[in-house]
């Protein structure tokens, strides 16, 4: 029974990694750009939500309405920060230095954004964990003797619906087709009338939305936020993305869940100190046996959406 509980815990933890792994996958698939600000966008959503809920919302809401409104504002803050990153790393660097697919400079500048945003939050709020004044943490149910957190279950469903929506959008809408065209060949897409300056911000907006949603759900699930909350999740989400296969949205979903399961089962059998070895060891074994990841394609970074 304990092992089943740990598997359920792993699935629930994996659902936290999934959203962030999908955010990473979006930017690397379409823009060939490993966006290091993603863990920070996740953190910004959580900390802004906490700040608004704790210090009072500017529009006078209180009681049970306050925290959902605060979470929504946190998600919006994440989207705005993501657009800021697009404007001052990706677009600026491409304008000044040429080819947008030369991702090294945006990658480094996104790393700069990560450090700046994280330290700004630390300066304003300190490095402490903060209790998020959301719903009571005893929102737990037992199914056949197995504890399941209701907010985490709801989060998992929301994330799955969002990803289904994302996949549908990529396949059936004009924006989705434009994004896939850029992913396939940015130069050809431009010649065919796709405007990168208009379409690329959509990727960042979606990234911000995913991170904002993940940060908000994290705050509700764990009842706590901190300036460091993105660090561990960011690295595990990258591991999940690579295990699942670079560029595959469903690969990111599977990878995130696999990492969650590996983490929980490692703690169960070997203790928390072995988690990093197990997660990154699993990643290395996957790369050795199947370099493109479980669901990835051979042409890494191009046209898989």
């Amino acid at each position: 029974m304990l092992l089943v509980q740990q598997i359920v815990n792993g699935l629930m933890l994996g659902s936290v990694y999934v959203t962030v792994a999908v955010a990473f996958t979006l930017t690397i698939s379409i823009l060939n750009f490993l966006n290091f600000t993603i863990p920070t966008l996740f953190m910004v959503a959580g900390m802004v939500s906490w700040g608004l809920a704790y210090f009072g919302l500017p529009f006078g809401l209180s009681g049970p309405l306050a925290w959902p409104a605060a979470l929504a504002c946190g998600a919006v803050a994440s989207i705005l920060c993501s657009l800021l990153v697009e404007r001052f790393t990706f677009r600026y660097m491409r304008t000044r230095h040429g080819d947008s697919t030369e991702h090294a400079i945006p990658l480094v500048s996104s790393l700069g954004f990560l450090l700046i945003l994280e330290n700004l939050i630390r300066i304003f709020y300190g490095s402490d964990s903060q209790r998020f004044p959301g719903p009571s943490s005893d929102l737990t149910t037992q199914i056949g003797g197995i504890f399941v957190r209701i907010p985490q279950l709801v989060s998992f469903v929301i994330v799955m619906v969002l990803i289904l929506g994302l996949v549908w959008m990529m396949k059936h809408t004009r924006i989705g087709r434009g994004l896939r065209a850029i992913a396939e060949n940015p130069d050809a897409a431009t010649i065919l009338g796709v405007e990168p300056n208009k379409i690329v911000p959509v990727v960042f907006m979606l990234t911000g939305l995913l991170c904002g949603l993940a940060g908000a759900l994290f705050a509700v699930n764990y009842g706590e936020v901190s300036p460091m909350m993105g660090e561990d999740i960011g690295s595990k989400a990258i591991a999940g993305m690579v295990v699942g296969g670079l560029g595959s949205l469903w690969g990111a979903v599977a990878g995130g869940i696999i990492v969650g399961l590996v983490e929980m089962l490692t703690i169960h059998f070997f203790g928390a100190d072995a988690v990093q070895v197990a997660v990154w060891g699993a990643l290395l074994v996957t790369l050795l046996m199947r370099p493109q990841g479980l669901f990835g394609h051979n042409a890494i970074g191009k046209g898989k959406l």
Binding site: Q6, R122, G126, S137, D138, F218, E224
Partner: protein, 391 residues
């Protein structure tokens, strides 16, 4: 004419410099105002400042004001060492208050010993930290002694405590030592049946796997060794999975702010602290002034942490040493006065806000302990133990 006037002015300024330098008594202060200890470390800065201001307003020491020269280690042991060397070699301080944590002190105490300068870490409570140090002294109480006091209070109460599980943060120096060595030894000695300690990591946010293992045995008590943020995650997960027993901990997370951080899930938690603000009028006054100054700085605290009180007392302890040795702070006597101050620590007895007639065994102060219970959203005194006598 103009050139001669300029030159004369320059000579006059240069001549005056040594006089300015000797006008204060310089004390080094290594703080953790940034990095992962910022939240607990930065408030100690205010405690140091209050003590220095009070002393200087009352006429200083030996006719001179104290000048506190500060260095922020960023919570990094290497920077604590750099700071110690900078304060000793460049700033000619007579003694150093800080660094903040055991991890930082473990490195910086080597510099204190090498340069023969008295160093009093602010919050370092790792067992045996000063055993090998000649110039390191602590105005903090050892984790094992304080946790032993908590266990004594627990066994004297009617709180069920036959069985226990231990959760510890494996990548923190003090928490690791407490969770793997101190807690199991002391709890077994108290007749409590203890399971194998369960590690968590500082950055971990999901404790469900560890707590599921704990819930398998559903012990009477869960002992947590970790900073407040880690303890908070463990406690919340315990409550989520239906745990109804008590959570206990040593000084590591004995911060008044846990009342807010833990929320209702923290009700019933027992910790042991080295400071009780209601102990004396001076302690109450300090607590009130301290909170008021922090509020003015925009720092939210519910009460002075014992490390804040120890920081405040550390300045007064140095004052006592300076008065006893009659130091002048003159640059040409720095080495001699450093040695006098370090030597004066032997056999000293000190009255402060943390306790009266404080004496030292080895290089560690004997301090009282206060078992705190978080109950009804308040930081309340559950029991207290007087300081041990010095033989």
């Amino acid at each position: 004419m103009k050139l001669r006037t300029t030159l004369l002015s320059a000579v006059a300024i240069l001549a005056a410099l040594p006089a300015f330098a000797g006008d204060t008594i310089k004390i080094g202060n290594i703080v953790a105002s940034s990095g992962f200890l910022k939240s607990v470390g930065e408030s100690a800065e205010t405690a140091f400042d209050i003590a220095v201001r009070e002393i200087n307003d009352a006429g200083g020491v030996n006719g001179k004001p104290i000048e506190l020269i500060r260095y922020d280690s960023g919570s990094d042991p290497r920077q604590a060492s750099v700071g110690a060397r900078k304060l000793i070699q460049d700033d000619d301080v007579l003694a150093i208050l800080g660094p903040f944590s055991s991890g930082e002190a473990r490195v910086a105490l080597n510099d204190a010993d090498r340069f023969k300068v008295l160093m009093i870490p602010t919050a370092a409570s790792a067992p045996g930290l000063t055993d090998e140090s000649k110039y390191g002294w602590r105005l903090t109480e050892d984790e094992s002694k304080q946790f032993g006091r908590l266990l004594a209070a627990l066994t004297a109460s009617d709180i069920p405590h036959k069985t226990a599980e231990i959760v510890y943060v494996s990548d923190e120096v003090v928490a690791n030592a407490a969770g793997t060595e101190l807690y199991p030894t002391l709890m077994k000695a108290a007749g409590i049946e203890v399971g194998e300690p369960i590690p968590v990591q500082f950055k971990s946010f999901d404790m469900s796997a560890q707590v599921a293992t704990i819930m398998k045995t559903n012990p009477d008590i869960v002992a947590v060794a970790g900073l407040p943020q880690s303890a908070s995650k463990v406690i919340k997960e315990l409550r989520r999975q239906g745990y109804e027993g008590r959570v206990i901990g040593s000084q590591i997370f004995a911060d008044p702010n846990i009342v807010e951080l833990f929320g209702p899930e923290g009700d019933g938690t027992l910790v042991v602290a080295g400071f009780w603000p209601g102990r004396t009028e001076a302690a109450t006054t300090f607590n009130t002034e301290f909170l008021s100054e922090l509020e003015a700085k925009g720092i939210h605290k519910l009460g002075a942490h014992h490390t804040d009180a120890q920081a405040y007392d550390g300045v007064y302890l140095l004052k006592q040493l300076m008065e006893k040795t009659g130091v002048t702070g003159d640059e040409d006597k720095v080495d001699e006065e450093r040695a006098e101050m370090a030597a004066a620590m032997e056999g000293i007895s000190f009255n402060g806000i943390v306790g009266d007639d404080i004496c030292f065994v080895g290089h560690d102060a004997e301090l009282p302990g206060y078992v705190i219970e978080v109950t009804g959203g308040k930081w309340t005194k559950f029991a207290e133990a007087p300081a041990d006598k010095c033989e």
